[in-house]
Subunit: 367 residues, 4 copies
Amino acid sequence: MTSERADVQERLEELYRELEPLQMEALWRVQGVDPAVRSEAGAPYQPYVWRWKELRALMERAGDLVRTGPEAERRVIILTNPGVAPSRSATHTLLANLQMVIPGDVAPTHRHTATAIRFVIEGSGASTIVDGEPVVMHPGDLVLTPAWSWHGHVNESDGPMFWMDGLDSPLIRSLRAGIQERYGEELQLPTKDAGDSMNRYGANLRPVWSAASSPASPLLQYPWPQTEEALHRLAKVDASPYDDVAMEYSNPLTGGHVLPTMACWIQMIRPGVHTQAHRHMNSVAYHVFRGRGATIIDGVRYDWAQGDFLALPPRCWHEHLNESAGEEAILFSITDTPVFESLNLQREEVYAERDGRQVVREAAAAG
Amino acid sequence: MTSERADVQERLEELYRELEPLQMEALWRVQGVDPAVRSEAGAPYQPYVWRWKELRALMERAGDLVRTGPEAERRVIILTNPGVAPSRSATHTLLANLQMVIPGDVAPTHRHTATAIRFVIEGSGASTIVDGEPVVMHPGDLVLTPAWSWHGHVNESDGPMFWMDGLDSPLIRSLRAGIQERYGEELQLPTKDAGDSMNRYGANLRPVWSAASSPASPLLQYPWPQTEEALHRLAKVDASPYDDVAMEYSNPLTGGHVLPTMACWIQMIRPGVHTQAHRHMNSVAYHVFRGRGATIIDGVRYDWAQGDFLALPPRCWHEHLNESAGEEAILFSITDTPVFESLNLQREEVYAERDGRQVVREAAAAG
Amino acid sequence: MTSERADVQERLEELYRELEPLQMEALWRVQGVDPAVRSEAGAPYQPYVWRWKELRALMERAGDLVRTGPEAERRVIILTNPGVAPSRSATHTLLANLQMVIPGDVAPTHRHTATAIRFVIEGSGASTIVDGEPVVMHPGDLVLTPAWSWHGHVNESDGPMFWMDGLDSPLIRSLRAGIQERYGEELQLPTKDAGDSMNRYGANLRPVWSAASSPASPLLQYPWPQTEEALHRLAKVDASPYDDVAMEYSNPLTGGHVLPTMACWIQMIRPGVHTQAHRHMNSVAYHVFRGRGATIIDGVRYDWAQGDFLALPPRCWHEHLNESAGEEAILFSITDTPVFESLNLQREEVYAERDGRQVVREAAAAG
Amino acid sequence: MTSERADVQERLEELYRELEPLQMEALWRVQGVDPAVRSEAGAPYQPYVWRWKELRALMERAGDLVRTGPEAERRVIILTNPGVAPSRSATHTLLANLQMVIPGDVAPTHRHTATAIRFVIEGSGASTIVDGEPVVMHPGDLVLTPAWSWHGHVNESDGPMFWMDGLDSPLIRSLRAGIQERYGEELQLPTKDAGDSMNRYGANLRPVWSAASSPASPLLQYPWPQTEEALHRLAKVDASPYDDVAMEYSNPLTGGHVLPTMACWIQMIRPGVHTQAHRHMNSVAYHVFRGRGATIIDGVRYDWAQGDFLALPPRCWHEHLNESAGEEAILFSITDTPVFESLNLQREEVYAERDGRQVVREAAAAG
C-alpha cells in the first residue's frame, strides 16, 4: 500500500470512528453484511435524532475521500437507531439514509424488491432514470422508485447533491423477500422524455387509456413547487390537531398511498402551533426540510432543526411544536402505515388527558 | 283452420281474456320469445347534433322574454334526442342542457338524487354554491354537484353566462330513484371559502385526515387552465388511437370516475388526426368547446363546430376527425360509463376492418 | 293581460315553435322546474299480489293448449304490475314470471345480457344446462344463469315442473343494454358433470386455483336442503327486526351478491312474528314458497299464501307478519339492491313511530 | 427441593436434551424469551421435517411431567427450524407448534395481535371459547382465533387432545406489533351457543344484516366432515398440476383468505400423483393429517408420514408425490400468502424444464 493510500485509509478509519458514536454508519463499509433484526415483542424501542450539522460535515469529508466505483457504489451514510440494532436502520422497517452525489458520479442501473424514495435536500440537476424516464431533481422534490423498477442516476450538474434515501429494506429483509438484479449495462439510457409521468398524471386528470398495473404510483416525481403550494393552500382551510398542516402524497390512479409498503408525508408545523399527542402502530422517519421545532415523545423533548432526521418508533405518544415567531417548520417523512393497514394491524390512539399534552420529563440528550 | 285448431284458438282467446284482469300476460302471445332475447344488438337509437348558432340565438331571445322567478326557475333549453322520446334528453341516460344565467339571477338552493355537472361555455363570474362552498366559474371549468349535495347559484357578474348542464336524470327516473328537497332559505349562504376543495385536493397530495365518505369526488372544481395544460402535456407523450388526446377528470380520493353514475372527459382531436373506430355500451353527450371537426357514426358523417352538442348512442361505431390545418378541436363530454362498469355490462369493441375506418355512406342532414 | 304581456307571450310561443323542429325544448315550459327536482319522494307505484290459485289453474289450461316450439318458445305467464305499464313486469327493474315445463319440452340454448334466475316451485327432474353444466332441479332450488351465460333446458322427467323465472330485463331495457345470441345447435350438450360448480364451491372452501373472472357467482345451484337447514340454523341464533330470519344467497368467491344486478333472498317469517316496518330504494319481487301471512305496505295489508307472488315497489314502508300458530312462512325473493348499492343510490329508513308498526288503513282488494 | 421434585426436574432436563437435536423446544421453558430473527436477504433457508413418532412420544412424556398452571401455561412443543434461528419457529413468519391438552386443563382467556389457528390432530371434546363462542373440537377441524379475539380453552373430555397451533407470531414480532392482554377472569364464560358462527355462515348463504367488521372470517370453525367431503367432491372435477386436489378455507363474507396474515389450506395428494414443481415467495408449514408421501424441495427428497410436520421456506422449488397404491395423503397447511399479496411482493414461478420435475440429488437425512 502506498503511503498516500494508507493515508486515505487512515482518514477513512477516523471518519468511521466518528460516525459510530453519532449512530451513523458508512454504507460502503458494511454493504454485503446482512444486518439482523432483534425483535422485542411488545416493547417499543427508543426514538433517535441525527444532527444535520454533523451529518453534512462528515458527508463532505467522505466526498473528499471516497470515489464511487470500485471503492463504494454509493456515498451513503446509514442512520442506525441503536434501538433496532443489529439492524442498521432508522426504524425496524425503514431506512433513512443520506446520499451525496458529486459531479460525474454514475450509479449503475439496478432493481430490487425493496421500495425506495428520494427526497432532495440540497443541490440541483442530477437525474435519476426510473424505468427509462429521466427525472431531474431539485430541492424538495420527492422521487419514487417503486419495487422492481429499474433505476440508476447520474450527476451531470456542476455541484454536489444531497438527498435522503428512504427504503423499506428492513421490512423486506424480515420478510425474506429481498431479490435484486443488475441492469445489463452501466446505466439504462432514457427511453422516455423527462417528465413523462408528470405529463400523464400531473393534475386531477388521467389518460382515458391508463389502468393501474401495480399498486405503486405511476407518477414518479412530486416537484416541490406544487407541494409547497398545496401545503399553503391547505393551511388556509384546515389542519389536523395531531399533525397540523399535513398532506400525504397520493397515487393518482388510486387516491391511496404512493407505494404499497411505504407512505410519504409532507407537513408544516406553523409558527406557534403545538399539536396534541397521539400514537399509532406505524413507525416514522422524519427529515426536517425547513425551520426548527421539537417533538415530545413519551415525555421526552427532542429538538430538531433544518436538515435533522428523527426516528419515531411504533406506539410512542408524540406531539409537535414550533415555537418560532414566524418561521414555518416543514417535515418530510416516510412511514410504514400501508403495511399495518394492509395486514389489519394498524391502531391509533388519541392522548385524552391534559388536553392532549404530555408532561415533559426531560429533554433528550444531544442525539 | 281445422275445427279442432279453431277450438284451441278460441279457448286460448278465452284464456287471454281471463289473464288480463288478473294482471297476467302470456309471454308467447306478446313476444313469442323470451323478452330478454328480443333485444337488438345494434345501436338502439340515432345520434343527433344540435347547432350552437341556433341554440345561442334562441337562448338570447329567451333571455329577453323570460325572467327567472315565478315564470321560470331556470332559463334552460333541453336538448331532446328524438330517438329517446318520450324522454326529453340527449341520450337515454343523460341530459345535456344549455343554461343561461343573467346578472341578478338567483337559483334557490336544492338537492336531489340526480347527479349534475356544469361545464362553462361563455361568460365569467357567476357562482355555484355546492354544499356551502362557493365556486366561481370561468369558461372551460368543470363544476360537480354530486347526488344529494346542496346547490344553488347566483350571477353577481355584469354579463350573461352560458353553461352546459349535464345530469343523469333519465337514468334516475328509469330507476325510480328521484328524490328532491329544497333548502329552507332562498340560497344557502357560503359556509366555506371559495376554493375550499381545490385547497384540499388540488394536487397529487391529500390531507392526511381525509377519507372518502362517498364515491363522488370531493374536489368540486376542475379549472380550465389546469385542464388545458394537462391536455397539452399529455399530447407530448401519448394519445389514444380511438380518442386521440383524451383525459378523464378523476376523483383524487379514488383515482376513479368523478361521480358514481357519470364520467367526464376532455379530449383534443389534433389537427390532421383521424382516429380509428370503436364502439361501447355507454352513451356520450359531447359539447364542442373549441374548433371544428366531424364524427363518423355507423357510416354517417356528423360535422361539428364550436358550441355544438352531439349525442352518441350506445353501441355505435364512431371515429373522430379534425381536418383543419392548425386548429385544435376540443371536446368536453359526459358519459354513463360508470353505470355499465358497476353492473358488469360494459363492452368495448374495436373496428377491425379497413384500418379502423368506416365507409362513409352519407353526411348527416343538418341537425 | 296587458298588451305588453300579450306581446311577450306571443313571442314566447313563436320561440317554442322554432325550438321544436330543432329538437330543443324550453325547460320552464314543460316543467317549470328542474326535472331532477320534480321527482317524487314517495312510493312511485303500487304494490301488487298475484294469486297462486288462479295462476296455476290458468297455467294448467295453457299446458293443454300450447305446445312449445313453433307456437311458443316458452310456456310462461308474465306478472304485469299495472304501476309500471307499459313495461310488462312485476317491478320497474324485475321480471317475476311463472314457467311450466312439461315432459319432452326443450328450450334451445341461448344467452343474453339480461341476468336470470330460476326458483323451483313444483315438480322435479328437469335440467337447465348452464355454460355446459347440467343442473337438475328440485323444489326450493335456486339456479343462476348469469348475464351472457349459455343456457337451455330440457324436461326428461315424467311430470310437469313449475318454476319462477326472475330476470332484470326491465333494467337492461331501460339501459338499452339488451343483446342476445342463439347457440348454434338446439340445445348445448353438457360439457361438465352435473354438480360441477357445487363440487368446487359447495362449502366454505375453494379450489386454490380459482379466481373470480366475473362478479357473478361461479356456484350455479343452491339446493333447497342446504338452504332450509341454513334458515333453521340461523333461527336458533339471530333474526332481523325487519325481515325475521332472512338470508341472502352469496357468491362464494366474493361473499357478496350472487349477481351484479340482482340479489336473491330466502326468509322465514316464524309463527307469531310481526316485524317492524322499514323502507328502502330497492324493489322486491317475492314468491311465497311455504305457509301464509301478510305484508303491510304503506298502510295497506296484503295477505298472501303459498304460491302467491308479491311486488314491492321502491320506498314503501313495509312489515311482515305470520299469524299462524305453528306454520312457518317462507319467502323467496329477488331484488335490485346491487344496482342501487353500486350506483350509490341505496337508502334505507326505519319506521320510528309506534314501535315500527304502521296503522293499517285497509286490506288490499283481492289482487 | 424434595427428591421427588428433583427427579421430575431431572427427567424434564432429559426431555429438553432430547428435544434439542430434533429441533424441538418446550414452550414453557423459553416463554418470555424474545426470539430474534436473523435476516438473510435473498438467501432462502433450509426446509425441515419433524417426525410425529418422536414428537408424540416426547409430548406424552411431557404430559406426565408438566402440569399446566404455575409450571407451564400451555403444554406446547415449538418446532424450531434451524434456518431461522435465533427465531424459534418453523418458518420466518410462522409458528407451527404441537399442543397437548389433558382432561381438566384450562387455558385462561387472553388475546393478542398475533393471529392463531388450531388444527385438531387427535382426541375429541375439548372446547376453545373464541369471543364467547364455545367451539367443540374434533380431529380434522380447523378453528380460527383471529387477531385480538379473546380465546381460552378447557378440556372437559376424558382423554388427551393433540392439536397443531399455527401462529404468525414471528411476523408480528418482526413488525414490532405484538400486544397482548389477559381477560379479567380465568376463563371467559360462553356468551353464545356452540355453533353460533356455523349457524350464521355455514352454507353459501349469509344473514342479510351481516357486514364484515374485520377482514378476518366470522366463521370460526371448519369441521372435518364438510372439509373431507369438499375435497372428495373437488377431486371428481378438477385438480392443480402443482398441488393436486387443493382447497383454501375461505372467509364467507369476502371469499378471500380466512385471516389477513395467514391462509389455511387442505390438500389431497391422490395415490400415484406426482405434481410438477413450482415456487413462490410465501413460506408454508405443513402437517400431514393422513397418509404418507414425499416433497422434493430444491432437489432434495423429504419423506413424510401421518403426523409429521414440514417447513417449506420461500422461493424453493417443490413438488409433491404419493407413491402409495391406494392411500390418500392429506396435508393441512398454513401459509403467509396474504402478507405477500397485500404488500405486492408475491411471486410465483413454474418449473419449466423436464416436465416440471426436478432432478433429485439426495434424500434428506432423517429430520
